[in-house]
Subunit: 136 residues, 6 copies
């Protein structure tokens, strides 16, 4: 039975509620920004993203939030290309989760081994833009 | 001046020596395995990899080794495809750096948001193979 | 309010329930196979995948299921690399959704324009394996 | 024999002629735009693209043009990165082939499962730009 | 006019005929192997590949065939993942076009800068398999 | 012994010194530009890049520099996406290594087979920008 199963796995808050709480902590404006931009075109877009990414994945136990965010910065750097805007958002989230600027640039530079030098360089450029925007 | 510059940035051990020390700590057989397989075909292969990846990147200050290895597992999962064998090696290195099996499967599953579900599933399959081999 | 929001967007069945119903239609064994393989290692894995992929995305209105599955075959072909096992599963799902073998090989071959010739060739190889397994 | 083979497979119009007819239907300006931009630098560029993509692939039987274009939008969304400009062109071609705006945003959103959330978000941004340009 | 245009750009042999001649030179069995494997499932597959890849691209003037094949080995190495089988075929073609084994391993190793270390390592593994098969 | 090993493989100049000499030849401003932009944020960044990419890879024997640069242009075109800025720099380096504009556009166009048409088109756009900037 799915429902029983779901009930057993997650206590009382639904995945959407847990995602809501976590995304608020990392980025209080996230829901409002996403809803305004995407929910007219794609009804339910924001619920889907928050439920899946934050409620079903980031809110899990077993790995602390700061390490999760550093790992996301690493992966988005290595993927490069289509992930530029999301990399900047997640650098902000990593800082919100307690990572230092140095921890962020270090993990980005390390990605030169896996994503190649261009990936690392573009990641550093993104970090510089985020740091500059926060300093301003 | 390059030499002066190099001297200033890194104290006494060369990047190759620092890489050697760190790769020994994570994986004592790494140099021997790589040399036997690649250095006949590509002279200097092993020195290049150890100097660059371990001496110039993993050995840097500013981010602890365990988090570096968890971030590498994340990135290799998200990249998928051509990185299967390296993902398994780095899951082993992450365990050697102090990560738990749960921390590893958690960061792999989280990559579903960025690399897609197939990337996460293939990463979990790789982790299961590594854990089973170590248990055997 | 999240809950109000969720209630407004989706009527009575939860995303997990809708995903359950749809995945059963495409592949009656999917939940059992995924649970047996992944839920011990990653509690809640199967619920997450079924809720997100089938409940939140495939079950949406606005595009028929057959076209959705053909589009997925196209995308997995173009992505190539890490998506080989998932491509085969989705070729099966596309047939279950009413696509013909020809529609499947046609959309795979078309991907030569976007993912390159190797992607198309590997996709055709995957289709040949699936068709042969079903014929057996 | 190649020629005999070619003759047998395709009736009288050459692949280039069939591509010409189809690309005119989807996008009457395509040849002129491509020739003006690329054929000076790379003689034969436009013939190659039209013959291969439209004459040899899109013009094939076995899958209707609308589904072909929806599948291309899906694949370009999942590939992301380097395919931004081509995604916008193919959203236009999908509309020309009879797809609705909703069918297009639905297939883009679905790609979150395979290309990750960033791919889906960037694809929706591209669709919003195309729809806005057409409305203007 | 397309036909006039086509006539002007390419003298007398058609793109398919030029591709046929060049692919025979690099790999006399290529057509037979491809036809036997793919043309039943996808009529015209082999003509499309030979016309496009060899007739429209490799047969062009302006860059010698050996450099073209070395560049292809480089690109397939950097892309990695889905291009493994094609990398091996093109290592064979590069040797047929006059490249030495050393030139091939050198260009593969160089790709570590752009595709990352895993790409270079997997490319070297592919080269070792091809060289061993030819020596046997 | 690592040191003995390193000594045996490379004569007297260190990898960093050899990289310095080669990068100066291809691009006299490279060190200054990279240091000014990245070394404050990531100490040692420029040494790492020059030592690894130019000292450990491009400076190797066994393949001439011009072919190495043409191969890099090919790979960056095929990778696309995150490599746009680096593609332009390497088109400049390929010209500095003796490649003609035609050799560059030819190898870029050829990548349509492996990276897909969008990759080739975006690569040609990059080449056009570089050629125009040099002509100005």
């Amino acid at each position: 039975m799915t429902e029983t199963h779901a009930t057993k796995t997650h206590a009382s808050p639904t995945p959407l509620e847990r995602g809501e709480a976590l995304s608020q902590r990392l980025n209080p404006d996230l829901r409002a920004v996403l809803e305004a931009r995407y929910d007219g075109l794609v009804p339910g877009f924001t619920d889907t993203l928050i439920e899946f990414a934050y409620g079903r994945l980031y809110a899990r136990e077993g790995l602390d939030l700061k390490t999760r965010q550093i790992a996301t910065v690493a992966a988005l750097t290595a993927l490069g290309g289509q992930t530029g805007p999301q990399l900047k958002i997640n650098i902000d989230h990593a800082l919100a989760a307690g990572a230092s600027e140095t921890e962020i640039t270090e993990v980005i530079f390390q990605m030169a081994v896996y994503g190649g030098m261009p990936a690392a360089i573009n990641g550093l450029n993104a970090a510089m833009e985020v740091f500059a925007a926060r300093a301003a």
